[in-house]
């Protein structure tokens, strides 16, 4: 009845047994104890359960756990590098971009998927990209500012790194 699944979660190989009817969200939360992904609607309309699956943003409530065999999953627990927060996490704190915090993991994962592709995304693009994530506390203002700020930070870091690279090279 249960299916053996070998997958990679936050860069760690993971083996698990899942019932085919279990969603990835259920398995992350109930079997693996990764409760950072939240259930807000369980039908793909709020984004609280967002994870990145093979580089693409998905709602983990709309994926069967058995489907992730051989794939790469990134959850909110894998966004920081050890104790070093991701620029998005840092900006969410600095900009007060969370109130109750239940939607925050989903927003940060969604925004990461955006900035990984488009660190230069502008306000219109950020608002469009985040439209699948509901927040009921903030009115989105500070969330959008935090994502824009994190994008700027990531661009800065990238250009500093490449500048350093050149300096070292010559």
């Amino acid at each position: 009845m249960k299916v053996h699944v070998e997958t990679t979660i936050n860069s760690e190989p993971v083996e698990l047994l899942a019932e085919p009817r279990q969603s990835l969200l259920e398995v992350l939360r109930d079997e693996l104890g990764l409760t950072g992904a939240k259930e807000g609607c369980n039908n793909g309309n709020c984004g609280a359960c967002n994870v990145i699956l093979d580089g693409r943003l998905v709602n983990s409530c709309c994926v069967l756990a058995v489907e992730v065999s051989g794939k790469q999953v990134v959850t909110i627990e894998g966004v920081a590098e050890g104790e070093t927060l991701h620029p998005l996490q840092q900006k969410f704190l600095e900009e007060a971009a969370l109130q109750c915090g239940i939607c925050t993991p989903g927003f940060i994962v969604a925004a990461k998927a955006l900035l990984d592709r488009e660190p230069e995304a502008d306000e219109a693009r950020v608002r469009y990209w985040l439209a699948g994530n509901l927040c009921r506390c903030t009115g989105y203002d500070k969330i959008v500012r935090a994502v824009l700020g994190a994008g700027a930070e990531m661009r800065n870091r990238a250009s500093n790194t490449s500048n350093r690279g050149r300096t070292n090279g010559y």
């Binding site: 950072g36 369980n42 996490q89 704190l93 007060a96 969370l98 109130q99 109750c100 506390c137 989105y140």
Partner: protein, 753 residues
């Protein structure tokens, strides 16, 4: 933007990182559904598919026979409780009603009413078991609309009589209560009026829409100790409701609040907590219960739909002379709508010499309402602020200037009759009038600018905290107020200000009901205000104790010392001083410690006003309203953490935008909510709103040591009317019904049938 001069503070007014922040951006924070206990079962609820039905019998034998099912509960498992008045967090209600709302007995009063629950080894098994429970219903006619429910031939939900100032009515009715407020001479007031406007308005039920569905976990040990983990705005309130419903002594019940994923008033009542407890007792195992999103919509408390009629008169010079209001609010299945608050708040922004308000609390076959951000006020303001707007137009006045001319100020009759102390409505109006937004031109054929004001009382109630020092000069702040939007930090900052230390040197923790003195709910915009007072009191207690310790260390008399800038200093010899940190070290070196407490019943509530300005564009082809620009001014007293104050304002505004434009409980005739999902219950997304410019006005509240007023609720009061006024300016048509959906705009304005 922060305007108005104020006292200089060292911590208050800064923007430190919130103490619980890292846990919340890394996914570590534990919310209601994140609780896992050893041997835990999973439970789900069976709900009535009918809006009104007698429950003739329930047969759960097939469910119990399913492998993995460990317990089933129905109404028969609940003790009969007295019809006593119970604390509902932000309101009061009957314990018997609350118990029946948690689990129906002989009658289901709305679709979604819980009728049974199953605990099983997995969620899937519990859900399969629910389908095996056989309930024999006798379906009764349902009544869904407030005005229909008030008719004498309406189906009755309860055989109860109307309570009113004149006593009880003779016949049973769905009207649970009739309140009346009157002052001045109405006839005289309308006699003086040269311009009169009278309109009626309707609003539909709307939900708070918190993103976290309800989740509760319970254990019931053989010694009778009940422990409940739950996502709630008030652990103590849940404790008292649960102990009442379970008929267990309050000392047997411990409530451990988890992090809460939004509440807005909706997490002040028990739903699954007593059910999980009974399932735990029957199964002998911990039981976790969760709702799915549809259950949240159908089975928890939204806020009332309403019918409101307002007649108001003014002189040609624009002075209000009289207001008469009729408000009827849907309570849902049991009495307790916020109609009285609506009645009291909608006239509060103005000095009205003659007034008569009738308010009716009416039961209908829909979910029992719960508090929702400034409960009762937004719908009433939707009506009142449009009537004010129309009067302003008729006398040829700028809508903000008209409001300014009639604004309540210190000394004006406040809601309830006592005069207002220092309040900031005039300042909000001026800030709006002087805003860059209001001064900017707005062009385009179907664009309009609207304004509206709003008032909310704010609550005081009980708060208790404990503060203890650590050897490294930091302090632990133990509190019992659920932190929904950063109150750990707004309280820590007030303690830091009082003690002259940094916000980071305060470690705030929200604890369970066994571990701190009593705290009422996080609601009524009260925590930063009232728990802030408790924190201040604890801080002052700490200062007195530290002075006494320092006196011992210095060999001085306590009277010779004072607490200043985070240190105990000798009044005449400043070289004798101990910084807070030094003192903590010394106290621990001497094998001692210091604990201080603060416990208050919050008095000196300030009352909060807000004035909003909004620009809209209406698409004449589709009827869609776009929010182009939004500015919200609000008197917050003193902004403790301005970023979180702005956040409250921005969040309230966007909830208001949702309520104004698209949100509603959409019912079919038999009483089924057809849009009970986040797909069709259309809350605003990031793409539906612009940046919200929050203008913080600070008129310090004289009733609070740091001048704090409640902040969280009033921002949802003006948006409905502000947007309606803007739509009027854009189209020339008054919007008397919510939501102002594209369909409604096409119908009211562009001739659609």
């Amino acid at each position: 933007m922060v305007i108005e001069e104020r006292k200089t503070y060292r911590v208050i007014g800064t923007r430190p990182i919130r103490h619980d922040g890292i846990d919340k951006v890394t996914g570590r924070a534990q919310y209601g559904a994140d609780i896992r206990l050893s041997g835990m079962l999973h439970a789900r609820t069976l709900r009535s598919p009918h809006a009104h039905a007698l429950i003739k019998s329930i047969d759960a034998s097939k469910a119990l026979a399913l492998p993995g099912v460990k317990a089933v509960v129905t109404g028969a498992d609940f003790p009969e409780v007295a019809d006593s008045i119970e604390d509902m967090g932000e309101a009061e209600g009957s314990l018997r009603d609350l118990s029946a709302n948690v689990m129906a007995r002989d009658k289901a009063l709305y679709r979604g009413h819980a009728v049974a629950a199953v605990a099983a080894t997995s969620v899937h098994v519990a859900l399969e078991a629910l389908a095996l429970i056989e309930v024999d219903y006798e379906v009764l006619p349902a009544v869904l609309d407030v005005r229909d429910a008030m008719r004498s031939d309406a189906p009755l939900l309860h055989e109860r009589k109307t309570a009113s100032i004149a006593g009880e009515s003779e016949k049973p009715s769905n009207v649970a209560k009739h309140d009346q407020f009157a002052w001045g001479d109405l006839e005289d007031g309308f006699g003086q009026a040269e311009v009169v406007v009278e309109r009626e308005f309707t609003t539909e039920m709307v939900h708070q829409g918190y993103i976290e569905p309800h989740a509760s976990t319970a254990t019931w040990n053989s010694d009778g100790q009940i422990t409940i983990w739950t996502s709630t705005q008030g652990a103590f309130t849940i404790r008292s409701q649960a102990s009442g419903i379970l008929a267990q002594p309050i000392s047997r019940v411990k409530v451990i609040p988890t992090e809460i994923g939004g509440g807005f008033g909706g997490k002040t009542l028990v739903y699954m907590e007593p059910v999980a407890a009974i399932l735990a007792r029957k199964s002998g195992r911990p039981v976790k219960m969760q709702m799915d999103r549809t259950e949240v919509f159908e089975g928890t408390g939204p806020t009332s739909g309403s019918y409101i009629r307002i007649k108001a008169g003014a002189t040609k010079d624009g002075k209000l002379t009289a207001v008469q209001s009729y408000l009827a609010y849907e309570a849902g299945a049991y009495p307790g709508s916020p109609v009285t608050a609506g009645a009291m708040t909608h006239v509060a922004p103005y000095d009205i010499p003659n007034c008569l308000i009738d308010a009716y609390d009416v039961v209908v076959n829909k979910p029992k309402v719960a508090a929702y951000r400034a409960p009762g006020a937004p719908a009433a303001a939707f009506a009142m602020e449009q009537v004010i707007d129309e009067l302003a137009e008729k006398v040829g006045s700028d809508p903000l200037q008209f409001r300014l001319l009639n604004s309540s100020k210190e000394g004006t009759r406040g809601p309830g009759g006592r005069p207002f102390k220092a309040i900031g409505h005039e300042q909000c109006l001026r800030a709006a009038f002087e805003s860059e937004h209001y001064k900017s031109p707005l062009e385009g054929p179907t664009r309009g600018r609207g304004v509206a004001s709003g008032f909310w009382f704010n609550a005081g109630m009980r708060s208790s905290v404990t503060v203890s020092i650590n050897p490294d000069g930091t302090v632990n702040l133990i509190e019992g107020s659920t932190d929904i939007g950063g109150t750990r930090t707004s309280l820590a900052m007030q303690l830091a200000e009082t003690l002259g230390i940094t916000a980071e040197d305060v470690k705030p923790t929200v604890v369970d009901t066994d571990s701190v003195g009593y705290n009422d709910v996080t609601g009524g915009s009260r925590v930063t205000f009232a728990s802030g007072m408790a924190v201040y009191e604890a801080g002052m207690d700490m200062r007195r104790q530290l002075i006494a310790r320092a006196a011992e260390l210095m060999g001085a008399e306590a009277e010779e010392l004072e607490y200043r800038d985070g240190a105990v200093v000798h009044k005449t010899d400043e070289s004798k001083r101990y910084s807070f940190k030094q003192l903590c070290e010394r106290i621990f070196e001497r094998g001692a410690t210091v604990v201080a407490t603060g416990s208050v019943v919050g008095r000196g509530v300030g009352g909060a006003f807000a004035t909003h300005v909004v620009d809209v564009e209406v698409d004449p082809e589709t009827g869609k309203v776009d929010i182009l620009r939004y500015t919200a001014t609000q008197d917050v007293g003193t902004a403790i953490h301005p970023a979180y104050v702005e956040g409250q304002i921005q969040g309230g505004v966007v909830q208001g935008i949702g309520w104004a434009l698209n949100e509603e409980y959409y019912y079919n005739e038999p009483g089924q909510m057809l849009n009970a999902s986040f797909l069709d219950y259309r809350m605003p997304t990031s793409l539906d709103v612009p940046m919200i410019d929050a203008v913080i006005v600070e008129v310090p509240n004289p009733g609070h040591p740091y001048g704090v007023r409640g902040v969280g609720e009033v921002p949802i009061v003006p948006p409905l009317a502000a947007i309606a006024n803007a739509v009027y300016r854009a189209t020339g048509v008054r919007q008397q019904k919510l939501p102002m959906s594209p369909r409604r705009i096409l119908e009211t304005t562009f001739g659609l049938e």
